[in-house]
Symmetry: C2
Subunit: 467 residues, 2 copies
């Protein structure tokens, strides 16, 4: 007996002629034919398609068990792997044994019926939704994209740095933060001024969840040259929209001796590499998304890969938008931040492919971005993609301590808090640049999902706080 995955069985490759194999999984659909014959489609998550197991009345448990199977039951099927008569699959299994490891209690009320469910309903049964075609496919694509991120960056000589999740500084002021405490909130310790005595808290001071690992990872870039952080990131903004999550994964590469153009090159190589991995390794899942979720999903990725990104200066982008003749909801003028409607116009209508907008006004960008020689823009970039708008934001960092200090004053940041960050400019400073990419937003884009909650494994249910 050779145990194989459904993927291996469907490929037929591992089975010698007439060899018995065993597959293990869950009944996806089943059909009983007349005269003691059942067709049981078994899925184990290894690929999109289930394998058909043909069970006959010859099986010793045919009447007692096989006939009582329903969608969702756990089974172990052993039999000969033979070319299939049915259309759409190359191989099927003629069962000589079909063991049932677990039936479904009350099949009629089992939440995952073999029919279309609303996405809203599936979010409420998040622990069961990986059993659907859609969430099986999302899970596999997610894995391919996440491991591609590591593979691509490793091939380019990057090191993965696990920057701290628990932080005692407000980082870049990038968003509202979650506070962390082990104090008894019903009975808070007080200092002699009547305030909360944070010295009694776990870390002896106030602590929060990180909103970005970028500043920390810069410290490693100043020794290891090419580094990235890739981990969960937290924003306590009202997350009840289809575009934001309180908890999401973010990848942030940071490169020493790099300028804005270098990092735009990296962003292009990076996104194209991830999409190529999905098209190569998850063709079956992408075919499903293309057919059932977002027509054109595959062509969108292929087009993304096929052409070089366009690069436009922010100042030129403003002129293009002003001359477009389009009526935008948000007015366009030099100095405003681009809204999604502007970003999509640039990528979709003006250029027709991904575009990197570079050199934004310094007022609308973070303190650590490098001031350009014009004195009014910083070396920041956003990668805008057709169908979604901004997908990557990056910048060359201000490596000159005197300039950084002026920007920190401008943003009313406490120099003492950031003194370690200023050290990086005191001791062997070098030009450096990096970008940040919210992973779930990219996954939504690849799969054509409408709600970002469907790009994370556990929204709402099953002990997860996300909603």
């Amino acid at each position: 007996m050779t145990v194989v995955s459904v993927k291996q069985a469907l490929a037929g490759g591992t089975a010698a002629a007439d060899q018995e194999v065993t597959v293990r999984g869950w009944v996806r659909t089943l059909r009983e034919s007349k005269g003691g014959l059942s067709f049981v489609n078994v899925s184990d998550g290894s690929c999109f398609a289930p394998i058909q197991v043909v069970a006959t009345a010859d099986l010793s448990n045919y009447e007692t068990e096989v006939k009582h199977l329903s969608a969702g039951a756990g089974v172990i099927a052993t039999g000969k792997l033979v070319p299939s008569q049915g259309k759409g699959q190359a191989f099927e299994i003629q069962a000589t044994k079909l063991e049932v490891t677990g039936f479904v209690e009350n099949p009629l009320t089992y939440p995952i019926q073999p029919k279309q469910h609303s996405m809203e309903f599936l979010r409420e049964v998040a622990h069961l939704r990986p059993r659907t075609n859609l969430f099986g496919a999302v899970t596999r694509v997610r894995h391919t994209m996440m491991t591609a991120i590591h593979r691509i960056l490793t091939e380019q000589g990057f090191f993965w740095i696990n920057t701290p999740i628990i932080t005692t500084s407000d980082a870049e002021g990038a968003g509202d933060m979650f506070r962390l405490s082990t104090l008894d909130l019903a009975n808070l310790p007080r200092d002699d001024k009547g305030g909360i005595d944070w010295k009694k808290d776990f870390f002896g001071r106030e602590a929060f969840l990180t909103v970005s690992g970028q500043l920390n990872v810069e410290g490693y870039a100043m020794a290891m040259s090419k580094v990235y952080t890739f981990g969960p990131t937290f924003r306590a903004e009202n997350s009840n929209t289809t575009r934001h999550l309180a908890e999401f994964w973010m990848v942030e590469p940071e490169v020493a001796f790099a300028d804005l153009n270098d990092i735009a090159d990296l962003a292009e190589l990076f996104l194209k590499g991830i999409f190529k991995a999905v098209l190569d390794e998850r063709a079956d899942d992408m075919a499903f998304f293309d057919e059932r979720v977002m027509p054109g999903a595959i062509a969108r990725l292929e087009n993304f890969i096929a052409q070089p990104f366009e690069r436009i200066d922010y100042t030129d982008a403003i002129t293009i938008l002003q001359k477009s003749g389009k009526k935008f909801e948000h007015a366009v003028a030099w100095g405003v931040d681009l809204q999604t409607e502007h970003e999509r116009y640039l990528a979709e209508e003006h250029v027709g492919r991904p575009v990197v907008v570079m050199n934004y006004p310094e007022e609308i960008k973070a303190f650590y971005m490098r001031l350009n020689d014009d004195g009014k823009t910083v070396a920041a970039m956003d990668v805008l993609a057709p169908g979604i708008g901004e997908i990557i934001g990056g910048a060359q960092r201000e490596e000159r301590l005197d300039y950084l200090d002026r920007r920190m004053d401008q943003f009313h940041l406490d120099k003492q808090t950031y003194d370690w960050y200023r050290d990086l400019r005191r001791y062997g400073t070098v030009p450096h640049a990096g970008f940040g990419l919210g992973f779930e937003r990219l996954l939504v884009y690849v799969c054509g999902l409408a709600n970002i909650r469907d790009a994370i494994p556990y929204p709402r249910a099953a002990g997860s706080a996300e909603f």
Copy 2:
């Protein structure tokens, strides 16, 4: 001009004869010879060794800049890559240009002098310590181990599941948890009984940081068959020891249709694969650890890989310990949990290689572990390694709902809270098993570090709360 990493330059492979290359990095050490000749060792983090850049008085900035270089300065060196006359390295660069991107302010007080620093001191300058030999090596080994984890599991057909970090359930009661809130603690909202009104908090209920993704990942194992979670995990236990962290990374594979022996096999393949990757890909860094941090570090990994793990039943292990004639600090009797001294005796003295202890008394193990037929042990295992003790803990899960319910009653767990977990037993239950591995503990073992705080990128300093 071809930009190459120090690693590529030292390998010499990419440079044609007489070709000019450019390396970029930081001065590690330097030496001025008589007669206008400087030897500047430049490191960029790509490998353990720096490359020697030979600078002569012919350089236009020799007097003005090169002679003022000190350890830590940022430089860009261009020149011919030639076989080195010096011992210990194959190639050096004869500089035709040596650009300084950043000097070191006050070289005499620069924290990272080219000398031995105490580990305690380096924890206080965590943002600069990657510039040392030791932490450069730790960073590279960490990267190799972490990416090996993904590669090995991907090759075995596993999918990476990002289980929630923010949770609303107390998981397995595995440890004290950090509470998370966006409420104004100085002014907490009250419910009509005078208690804290959690409905007003961000998620509308109490929220915590996860102590384990295992229960969540089981839901995915029941659809995708082979899955793992690998991410930061949090324990609000007093972490001020050399062995515990408040924030650490944990990998938890979970396999459907697997029993305790299957998961012990996986643990063996997994650990050996990680160590083999380190020995293959980080020979230079391991040579350093072997010479300077823990003599025998390499042999320890080689021995670990060379032999099959031993397997011992817990009950037999107790007998072995009792008959050992050793005086243990903690008394040995059937029913007690093994202490590190017991674990190390078994692995180091009794067996002399890694040993898997299996089938522990049910009273000392978690509620989700599968009760054995003897009614008094559960299908749990610990992998014990010479030199450290327990390194992996795992179990077959209780897949029978009636048994699980009895265990939950025994542990006074609320069935309503875990109803989603019970669903996994109601709907197509299958045997399954998994294990958990604390990543930093493994890194400490590989590198021979004495304190786990040296296995994380940012302890204490630079905005990290860890200490």
